[in-house]
Symmetry: C2
């Protein structure tokens, strides 16, 4: 089994080392983790911007094609929800009928994060409703994960947030993916 | 042609009236717009939360199956990027190989919004990098739209933000979808 290791982890300062740790955890659980790092595109920095991002887009899509499942880091990133690029990838796996596994290092509910956001930016989007449903994120994300992977989004088991780069909840999620083979 | 009218428009206080205006614009351009409103699920409010969100999830997926293209409102919503549920849907269309059209009422670049977010929440995710590439949002979104719909994300033509519920840029985008048939 090959698992696409989606997430904003690629934006960490130590993304390469962090990806190596994720790949090791997958190997220990008996499957191959594929992190969508950009280090393998050596010429990226020298390219014009449009060519650079299109190269990353094509590379990531090709890696997704090769993988059997996605394990998505759905920890909130720069807003109330998961990283936007990761969500495109989760949707792609849903569209392809491939299993989606997802986890978050945040123990807060989606509704609680939306309420915090509204307090922080009171003028923004006033009057819009929140469909919380007690879920960890937007219902389309929760549905993609629960319906295809067979488990809800994996959260910190003790209800306490983990550090953004903690891999404890990732490992719980990776174990579910390994067991589902 | 049937177009799935994705977007956080469903969270507007006047979502039903707003959807009606979008559907009218599509009809004028010669195609059918399908808004994923929840008003048709009359029993929703009486259901347990889990049953309610799963009903919406299944209903939206079924509507997506019926549609030929997606026209996605990618205006930033509760964070630096587009609405998270909308992104799942955009990824689904990408995975299915159906054309993705997208627009945003924000004229700001993704990088500029990330910088604003970092100023607003300086402790959050310090040190993470931004892959801006001069794009309107994360490159996976830009790629999904440009690669399948054949046009970049449609933005306000004069470089000025529009109100969140303005339909001017939607109409420009819907026109591109109509012409691409």
């Amino acid at each position: 089994m090959k698992a696409y290791l989606a997430g904003p982890d690629v934006f960490l300062p130590n993304a390469t080392e962090h990806a190596r740790r994720k790949v090791e955890i997958c190997a220990r659980l008996g499957f191959t983790g594929r992190p969508p790092l950009n280090e393998d595109v050596a010429a990226l920095a020298a390219m014009p911007e449009e060519q650079a991002w299109e190269t990353i887009f094509r590379k990531d899509l090709a890696m997704m094609e090769e993988c059997d499942v996605i394990i998505a880091n759905l920890t909130p990133f720069r807003g109330v929800s998961a990283d936007s690029g990761t969500l495109i990838e989760v949707g792609w796996f849903l569209g392809r009928g491939k299993p989606v596994f997802g986890y978050s290092n945040s123990a807060q509910s989606f509704a609680a994060r939306c309420a915090s956001h509204a307090r922080l930016q009171p003028d923004a989007l006033a009057g819009t409703s929140v469909e919380g449903f007690g879920l960890a994120d937007n219902l389309m994300i929760a549905g993609a994960v629960a319906r295809t992977g067979g488990h809800p989004i994996v959260l910190p088991p003790d209800g306490q947030d983990r550090a953004f780069d903690s891999l404890e909840v990732f490992e719980l999620c990776a174990r579910l993916a390994a067991e589902a083979r």
